[in-house]
């Protein structure tokens, strides 16, 4: 897993490369927590290169969503691979998160 942050306008775009599973979700959780602790309210999670996500990873997405909602911020997901989108669909998470097809869309909403 490799994660890069980029500030674009009001959002911080977090680009996830690789997979989030039980072995590294805490690392992912820490990185996201640092961004939010830094005062950022609006996040875009770029899932273009996210190959796999386990339920532990979904939990981190969920925690992030709850924290940002509570702070009046936004969490937008974008450019998901079909296999990831399927997981979100099956688990019903597609109804919880705002998922966009492109980064531009995610940034403009």
């Amino acid at each position: 897993m490799d994660i890069k942050n980029e500030k674009v306008g009001d959002f911080v775009v977090v680009r996830i490369d690789g997979r989030i599973d039980t072995t590294n979700y805490t690392e992912f959780e820490k990185i996201i927590a640092e961004v939010i602790d830094g005062g950022e309210k609006n996040l875009v999670l770029d899932c273009k290169n996210l190959n796999y996500i386990s339920s532990s990873g979904l939990r981190v997405f969920l925690i992030t969503q709850k924290r940002l909602m509570g702070a009046g911020g936004k969490l937008h997901l974008c450019t998901m691979q079909p296999s990831i989108k399927e997981i979100f669909d099956i688990s019903g998470f597609s109804t919880i998160f705002k998922i966009y097809d492109s980064e531009a869309e995610a940034l403009s909403n």
């Binding site: 039980t22 979904l58 939990r59 099956i90 688990s91 019903g92 998470f93 597609s94 109804t95």
Partner: protein, 644 residues
Amino acid sequence: MELNINKSLASRIVFYVLVFCVALFLISLGAFYFFSKNQLEKMAYNNSQAVANQLVFKTEQVLLPITKIANNYQSIIEHSTLNADSIYAITRRIVANNSEIIGSAIAFEPNFFKQKGKYFSPYTYRENDTLKTIQLGNPNYEYFVMDWYQIPMRLGKAYWSEPYFDTGGGNALMTTYSVPFNAIVDGQVVPAGVITMDLELDWFTEIISEVKILESGYASVLSRNGTFITHPNKEWIMNESIFSVAEELNNPQLREIGRDMQQGKTAFVVSTLNGVDRIMYYTPLPSSNWMLAVLFPKSEMYLPLRTISIILIILIVVGLGVLSVSVERIVSEQLRPLSKFAKSAREVATGNFDAALPEITTDDEMKDLHDSFAHMQSDLKNYISNLKDTTSAKEKIESELRIAREIQMGMIPKIFPPFPNLSQIDLFAMLEPAKEVGGDLYDFFMIDDNHLCFAIGDVSGKGVPASLFMAVTRTLLRSVAPNQTSPAYIVDKLNQALSSGNDSNMFVTFFIGIINTDTGIVKYTNAGHNPPVWISAGGKVEFLPVTKDIPIGLFDDFQYQEREMVLKPKDKLYLYTDGVTEAENASETLYSEKKLINCLSIYLRSHPRELIQQVAMDVAVHVGDFPQSDDLTMLSIIYNGDKA
């Protein structure tokens, strides 16, 4: 064994020391031999030269006085009025006054004294300690033609005769010194005759033969024509000359040497005589023009060296022997603690970390080794003690986890077939956690006589936290479900209970169905779980259509949907968690839903137990040696139809 370590090390050191010493000694010996050889050669040369010079000196000491005496009488005769008869007295006086002279003649030219006739040569000689005087010349002995007379007369100067054996008295080797003298006749100076003095050469051969150079070196005197006057080989004396010997031995070098000697040269030469290299020094005897040679075998120059070398070698061999014994002793003594260290190390290896170490009193490498060893012992002791603590702590955790797993597994029903008296349905399920305890769950139980509740769930995450959450979910399910035939209601209640105060944000995906065993009608709710597979008796294998509801535990006010389907007789439902479809192999390929559907299609006629076992096997084949990453949970239910 431990002695051998030291022994071999010590002997190796001894070996190296010996090799070094032997090399050193050989070089020293070589250098010593080389320089000594040169020195000995120089000494031998000097020595032979000194001997020769001494011989020359001694000879001259004898010969010179004779020449002086002869010269004196020459002067006397030349300056006195010659009276023929007084000449007898003169010869007597010469012999009487000079003990070394055994005979003396004063020979005159023929007819010098008219009154004495043609021959006049008074001669006095010793015979048995008395002197006899005679007149030598007569028609039978015409002395004018003898060498001793003729040569000095012709040359006009003194002359030593070639040595000869006295034919008259005994066999003594003799020589004669002849000096010509003049007289004034009719106012004219004319050669008048010769004064001779006979000399025995016994003394001479004696001092020459006394000479001994080195072992077998000797001196030899040769006459002008090369005849041996003295030589250790008596037979050669007066019989052989250097030239005849050269001829006999076919030795041109020797002939050359003879010629050089005749020319009065002084030189050192190396000559091979009778196969032996000999050093020869030759020099003339000045007053007689005889030639002196001293010679000795070359090899004898080095005799002292040989002796010294043998002594040296014996000393070295003995010295090296003593050296090796001492070195061996010293090294063994110094290394003795090593074998004790080796013994201690073996004891440590068997677990005795308090093994005694040898006492080291010296402050050297041995002391360092001792300190390092002691340090190692104490570190090992601490390490092992820590390891014991850690291991027992780990064992405790593992044992607790084992118990937790037993409790967890005890929560889910595991007796199959579960309802032997209920012919309408049968089911089978399995749960294989990835770690000791997992977050998956399944459950089934009768709500009332004709309603069976079955459920499957997957808690986010794994391990102890997930298993706790699973236990709570399972307990809540059992407390909410009684007398409820609406799955949506049950899930709502579960969700409300689990969402409140869920600070950890854990959630559980959950599928629950309630089947009416009389009708085959199934009411079900899916909370974010993988949709089950409907395997119809007609051969259709497809995912059950589900509502996309979120997992339990997220939002307490979420309203879950409920759906309904009808199972025909021999229809099956297959429920699973994502541990099946997301089982990974070494190349990170997932088992996938496609493969699952394929496998289920192959075994679509199988009983739930066989169906689940076949899927489990297919997943195992896919995963291979790769460690199981997620809990593997499956549940399958078959509807056999109404009991009628």
